[in-house]
């Protein structure tokens, strides 16, 4: 498996402009059969704008179609392609090879998620914790009657939470979080940031319900404000900020 295969030798995607190449190391692991992961190495030509996802798809097209990778939108919107790229959680479609500043690009599945195969991980737990914080407007009149219009909100009120509504559920924050490295029950930065997204929404009346949900031993108190979640978030959600605001409510710093 250590043998380096080169796409440049085979058939470059665009031979006229392919100038540089990078060594792409892909972690291969099938939990059904393998004891541990192995790396396959490929020499892949790239341009200034080539993304890591494109390089992986090149490998799939020219060498090994069996490389398992999840993706869809290719534009940092669907949240499918999170993986460890040179040791840090990033979106493969939103990371250009040129910006990594390295001759070697190593891709591995995200940490703190069960591996399905190779680079694809299971999201069940993230979706469960997300659901746990009740990610929808809570109010007595939750369902609109047929003759009603939408719940009104001023542009200023929108600014209070719109940043947190940017979350694409990619899970990079949960993968970077130091608490998640050891704690399987922690609710996690993704869900906590979404709890704040609804608490800060002027149309929502579920603040106490949500604060109750996160105020438990594996809830918000396991956050130590290391900030790694915010540093890897590809959408600028800044989960660490939302989490500290939530804790501000619980500690009585904010009302």
């Amino acid at each position: 498996m250590a043998q380096v295969s080169s796409i440049a030798d085979e058939q470059a995607p665009n031979p006229l402009s392919a100038s540089k190449s990078v060594l792409l190391r892909i972690s291969r692991f099938n939990p059904e059969f393998d004891e541990s992961n192995k790396f396959m190495e490929f020499s892949v030509p790239y341009q200034k704008w080539t993304t890591v996802l494109e390089a992986i798809l090149d490998v799939k097209k020219h060498f090994d179609h069996s490389v398992a990778v999840r993706y869809s939108c290719r534009q940092a919107t669907c949240g499918s392609c999170g993986m460890l790229i040179n040791g840090k959680p990033r979106l493969a479609c939103f990371t250009k090879i040129s910006e990594l500043d390295s001759d070697v690009v190593t891709v591995e599945p995200m940490n703190n998620f069960p591996v399905i195969r190779d680079l694809a991980v299971k999201f069940e737990r993230l979706f469960d914790t997300h659901q746990k914080i009740k990610p929808y407007l809570i109010r007595d009149d939750t369902e609109l009657e047929s003759d009603q219009r939408e719940f009104l909100q001023s542009p200023q009120e929108l600014e209070n939470f719109i940043q947190f509504a940017n979350c694409i559920k990619c899970g990079l924050c949960n993968s970077a979080c130091p608490t998640m490295t050891t704690d399987s029950s922690f609710v996690g930065p993704q869900a906590l940031a979404q709890a704040y997204r609804y608490v800060a929404d002027s149309r929502d009346k579920g603040k106490d319900t949500r604060l109750d949900i996160i105020d438990e031993s594996h809830g918000i108190w396991r956050c130590h404000f290391a900030g790694s979640c915010s540093q890897v978030c590809p959408k600028g959600v800044d989960p660490a900020m939302g989490i500290q605001f939530l804790r501000g409510y619980l500690l009585g710093f904010r009302s």
Partner: protein, 143 residues
């Protein structure tokens, strides 16, 4: 890898290399907290030596007069100062103070919660701890 959740484990938790000074502060806070806890317990044990009378007390205290004892105390000073300084920063942060204001994010999405105020807080805690350690060394070794 064979682990169900592919958790990074303690190795990932203590790896300070990837996520900037804030993650280093997180690690130092844990280490100094645990160090201080260890010192606190040892300190209770040490002071309980008074029950052995004056000789016992003096005997035990002599340990802190050795070079190793001095180095240990210098470490305690450093841990104390960093833990307190950074602890005040974290307590403010945990209350939602100084972590920035929500705003529409824009590329390259620098997170407002990881701002210069907190970075200054971390660096000054480290510098203060270093200064206090140097002062402690000057006092203890300068006799």
């Amino acid at each position: 890898m064979t682990q169900d959740e592919n958790k990074e484990g303690v190795k990932g938790m203590v790896n300070p290399g990837r996520y900037g000074i804030e993650r280093i502060a997180y690690l130092l806070m844990r280490l100094t907290g645990l160090g201080l806890l260890g010192y606190f317990i040892a300190h209770i044990y040490e002071t309980s030596n008074i029950l052995r009378g004056r000789m016992g007390w003096d005997d035990f205290l002599a340990m802190t007069q050795t070079t190793e004892g001095h180095i240990f105390l210098v470490l305690v000073i450093g841990m104390c100062v960093f833990h307190t300084g950074n602890g005040i920063r974290i307590m403010m942060g945990h209350g939602g103070v100084g972590v920035g204001k929500p705003a529409r994010p824009d590329y390259p999405y620098d997170p407002a919660s990881q701002n210069y105020r907190h970075k200054i807080g971390i660096y000054s805690s480290i510098v203060l701890a270093a200064v206090a350690m140097m002062y402690g060394m000057a006092v203890m070794f300068g006799e």
